[in-house]
């Protein structure tokens, strides 16, 4: 399954007069990895929520491979091929790891036992197979993050939205996740869009980076260009060396 092309055109969202996102446009070509960065409150998750169908935009459109997905309900967006993780992970706590991912897999496989088998395969790729029967609420944070990614992957997406999936992970764990995502992208051509604060991951993964601040796009370019961009440094990255 190769990745889909995502296009945001003039995307905007206002909440009863509060303008959260204004006129954001960028394109993520199929098969590439793209990062969305910016200070807290810049509107990054709101943008994700508009792509994923949680909010309908008040302006602009989101298209996936040319097909408009903005304004669709989240489950229809998932049908269209978008998988997403949440900033604060939301596993199905009372269900086991395997059951969690199986529910995702049921998106592509209507038979429960086949879905379960597909889920198990994904758990193995993410190193969670040995915890398959543990209750999700008993997992450590890094494992919950991996579970969240596994569950989203099980839906067979052509675009994966990762919302701060590295947050709270130690550097070694970050490297493992980076390695996994890079391999996934190389092997399957899955398009990945990630919101990230962990610059280590952004530098290692992203081909292109879009920077937003106060709901507006202020810069776009390769990671190397972005870390030298004055506007970005002023607003977000500061003077420090980025790893």
């Amino acid at each position: 399954m190769s990745g889909a092309t995502l296009e945001l055109a003039g995307l905007g969202k206002s909440f009863r007069g509060l303008r959260a996102v204004h006129d954001v446009s960028f394109t993520v070509p199929g098969g590439s990895i793209h990062a969305l960065i910016g200070p807290n409150g810049a509107g990054k998750t709101t943008i994700f929520n508009m792509i994923a169908g949680v909010y309908a935009p008040t302006a602009g459109t989101v298209t996936l491979d040319g097909r408009r997905i903005s304004g669709l309900r989240p489950d229809r967006v998932c049908d269209a091929g978008v998988g997403r993780t949440f900033q604060i992970v939301r596993p199905f706590k009372g269900l086991s790891v395997l059951e969690n991912v199986t529910i995702g897999a049921l998106q592509r496989q209507s038979k429960v036992d086949r879905a379960r088998a597909a889920a198990l395969a994904i758990l193995e790729r993410l190193g969670l197979a040995d915890r398959a029967h543990q209750l999700a609420e008993n997992l450590t944070l890094p494992d919950r993050k991996r579970l969240e990614v596994a569950r989203a992957l099980a839906t067979g997406p052509r675009l994966l939205l990762l919302d701060e999936v590295m947050a709270g992970l130690r550097p070694t764990e970050v490297d493992v996740m980076v390695g996994f995502l890079r391999e996934l992208n190389a092997r399957t051509g899955l398009t990945i869009l990630l919101i990230e604060h962990v610059m280590r991951a952004v530098m290692a993964l992203a081909a292109q980076v879009t920077v937003v601040s106060y709901g507006e796009k202020i810069a776009e370019g390769t990671p190397q260009e972005i870390v030298r961009n004055k506007a970005v440094l002023d607003v977000y990255l500061g003077e420090e060396e980025v790893a």
Partner: protein, 322 residues
């Protein structure tokens, strides 16, 4: 399912099949009551335990079911096995309206519960004033002594016992299958976290509607059985909030969202009810039975809020859920 559980169920089934031979008239009537509440409780459980929607107006579906089937039999001689199909259709239609309105307008919790109460009350008043259904005077089915007619559900307690046993057992089987199915998995996900479920493609609205419709259909069947067993229907009782509340007690006490819950709840509550009735009659104070009953409910909800079944299952080393 573990082998132990299967063996236990098999023994239980054999005992239940032999019950009319083993029990006297009183015992059988109590057992019939238990099975009725297990059946109707499981039906309610589908909507609450699986789809997470608190309905306090479920008597609407039982009442509609009973009145439709009984009315068709009374006026046109249409037997209950055909009448039940119309009854189900009526209940499913009503359930769809309630469900759709509730979900479309994002009503949850108390608000949704109040909506269900309002619909049941509305219908009660409507039937009170409708002559086809006998109005507030009630609808009465002719009781024919000494006749055993399965096709028209005319007969003695033994006939009704086997019918309710089949219905209860069938519903348990159905729920077990549902829970193992894709829809059942989706229900579990929705119950845990509806938004996260949507994000992985679960069609939440459609799944919730399915739960409501299945629940309404089964409850309607219970209503039909009830109407033909007791041979009378009054809007005052058929659609009453008391009746609705009655349906919720077994699953809540037994354990929401579990398969064994409604059965355990029905056993415990019916036994307690009979016990307190005899004690109450002995003491001769009005309302004493209900006081004991209320105390028992209080004790259970305080000390076993998740219900009795999860606690029992853990003691017996059975599966955690279903």
């Amino acid at each position: 399912m573990s082998a132990r559980l299967l063996a236990g169920l098999a023994v239980l089934l054999v005992l239940l099949l032999a019950a009319p031979a083993l029990l006297g008239g009183y015992g059988l009537s109590v057992l019939i009551l238990v099975l009725y509440f297990a059946f109707v409780g499981q039906a309610w459980n589908i909507m609450m335990g699986f789809a997470g929607q608190l309905s306090l107006g479920h008597a609407l579906y039982a009442g509609l079911g009973g009145y439709v089937a009984a009315g068709l039999y009374f006026h046109y001689g249409i037997g209950p096995w055909a009448g039940v199909l119309v009854a189900i259709a009526a209940a499913v239609a009503a359930g769809s309206i309630v469900g759709y309105l509730g979900f479309r307008f994002s009503l949850a919790g108390v608000y949704f519960a109040l909506l269900t109460i309002a619909f049941a009350e509305f219908t009660r008043i409507g039937f009170d004033n409708w002559s086809w259904s006998g109005g507030s005077g009630g609808l009465f089915l002719k009781v024919e002594r000494g006749v055993t007619d399965l096709a028209n559900l005319r007969g003695g307690p033994v006939l009704f016992y086997y019918v309710i046993l089949a219905l209860a057992a069938g519903t348990f089987g159905l729920c077990h299958l549902l829970l193992q199915s894709r829809l059942g998995r989706y229900w579990l996900a929705i119950r845990e976290d509806a938004e996260a479920a949507q994000a992985v493609g679960v069609p939440v609205l459609r799944c919730k509607m399915m739960a409501v419709m299945i629940s309404a259909a089964l409850t309607a069947i219970a209503g039909v059985w009830n109407a033909f067993y007791y041979n009378n229907l009054f809007p005052e009782t058929a659609f009453s909030i008391g009746r609705s509340i009655e349906m919720t007690l077994s699953p809540i006490i037994g354990g929401l969202g579990t398969l064994g819950g409604p059965l355990i709840g029905a056993v415990v509550l019916t036994s307690l009810g009979e016990l307190f009735t005899s004690v109450g009659d002995m003491l001769g104070i009005p309302g004493i039975k209900q006081i004991f009953y209320g105390l028992a409910l209080l004790a259970i909800i305080m000390y076993r809020p998740a219900g009795l079944w999860p606690w029992i299952a853990k003691r017996l080393g059975l599966e955690r859920r279903l």
